[in-house]
């Protein structure tokens, strides 16, 4: 089998201080791409963020991040990943909490 590509690589065209860079994330799709872009855009230090799936049969997404004040886009990416993880955690906790309190409707399928 072919060698597994690295999970993340910096595509060329990145500025030397990484204040603007395109990251290629392997084996991910719109699921991660869209939510990561959304989370990055919440960061006021991010000037621009966009993602694309270059071709549907290529199993990668490209995430472009440009920062204000020459901040590191890699730090912003890591922060966005942390925030996204916290978001998932919050959603899960809230869901399990209302499930415990039986705050749901029951519905039986008619046979």
């Amino acid at each position: 089998m072919a060698e597994v590509p690295p999970k993340i690589k910096v595509l060329h065209g990145a500025s030397p201080d990484l204040s603007a860079a395109t990251y290629q994330i392997y084996d991910e799709s719109h699921t991660i791409g869209n939510s990561l872009r959304w989370m990055l855009m919440k960061n006021p230090k991010v000037e621009f963020c966009g993602y694309s799936n270059p071709h549907p049969s290529e199993n990668v997404i490209n995430v472009r991040i440009q920062m204000y004040d020459n901040l590191s886009s890699l730090d912003a990416l890591i922060k966005a990943l942390d925030d996204l993880d916290n978001l998932c955690n919050t959603v899960e906790d809230a869901y399990l909490e209302s499930l415990r309190e039986e705050k749901f409707e029951r519905w039986d399928e008619k046979r």
């Binding site: 999970k7 910096v10 065209g13 990145a14 994330i25 991910e28 890591i78 959603v91 899960e92």
Partner: protein, 277 residues
């Protein structure tokens, strides 16, 4: 949920004998699509095509059915139920072959099809099927048979704003423009209001916009950050377990990317040597 929450389905079919009218590969495909009642968290996924099957990652089923004539079938009958034994190959004919520690692991719920009445093939006397089936864990993006849900969709919560009071004589007409329960009418004053708890029942038919008399009195929109998910389980997971499982998959993805990103920061450290090429 559709593509990445794992389930167990039949992946390898070894046909020893198949004299039914359905050819091996078509029958194998039909067998693969049968939903199994195996709790996916009890099974490990088989990594790579070269991995050896073990009792941790593979569940074996046997299928051994022979169709025969019934000895005392009534003369002149055309009903296959009366004429033949085993004239249909059903999902209930799948018999589980426990291996190793599987007897204890699956003691609570022996592996088998969720629905025992799926017809896989029709048989006639003299025809037989004898196969060995190996079920493994997989995800829906690999093959739809691994998808744990029949449907999973989301929509935004409808938002109805009544901008001008509706005249009492038109109140009932206005109510009929929406799904039942969405619009309340005060029985005394005939005042129209939106039932906040039942807005989600609205089908968003936008019927009200077809009526010129309501043209300026109502605005239809969506709540941008209120999602309603509709999920229908295939069986391996209880429906209420699907969302936590989906969140778990999402968090695993985030964790791997974060690890890679941290490694990149550690390795790069000021220079972007990764950007070569």
């Amino acid at each position: 949920m559709i593509a990445e929450v794992p389930t167990v389905a039949i992946e390898h079919v070894y046909a020893w004998d198949n004299t039914s009218v359905i050819v091996d590969e078509v029958l194998a495909h039909r067998i693969g699509l049968v939903p199994l009642n195996v709790n996916p968290s009890l099974v490990e996924s088989r990594e790579g095509p070269d991995a050896q099957p073990t009792d941790r990652n593979t569940i074996v089923f046997k299928l051994d059915v022979i169709c025969e004539r019934k000895p005392n079938a009534p003369k002149g009958s055309t009903n296959p139920d009366e004429l033949y034994i085993n004239h249909e190959l059903l999902s209930s004919h799948l018999t589980w072959e426990p291996a190793g520690e599987q007897t204890e692991v699956f003691a609570g719920r022996p592996p088998g099809p969720i629905n025992p009445n799926i017809v896989l093939a029709k048989l006639r006397p003299g025809q037989a099927v004898n196969m060995e089936l190996h079920a493994v864990k997989g995800v829906g993006k690999d093959h739809a048979k691994f998808s744990p849900v029949a449907t999973a969709s989301y929509r935004l919560l409808p938002h109805i704003i009544i901008k001008k009071p509706i005249p009492p004589n038109l109140a009932e007409n206005f109510q009929k423009c929406f799904s039942p329960g969405v619009i309340k009418i005060d029985p005394r004053t005939k005042e129209v209001s939106v039932d906040e708890h039942n807005v989600r029942k609205d089908s968003v038919s936008r019927e009200v916009l077809r009526h010129p008399e309501f043209a300026d009195s109502v605005e239809l929109s969506r709540v941008r950050d209120f999602f309603l998910f509709n999920v229908e389980s295939e069986g391996p997971y209880e429906p209420e377990r699907l969302l936590p499982e989906a969140v778990k998959v999402m968090r695993e993805k985030i964790a791997t990317i974060k690890q890679a990103a941290l490694a990149l920061r550690g390795a790069g450290d000021g220079d972007v040597s990764m950007a070569d090429g």
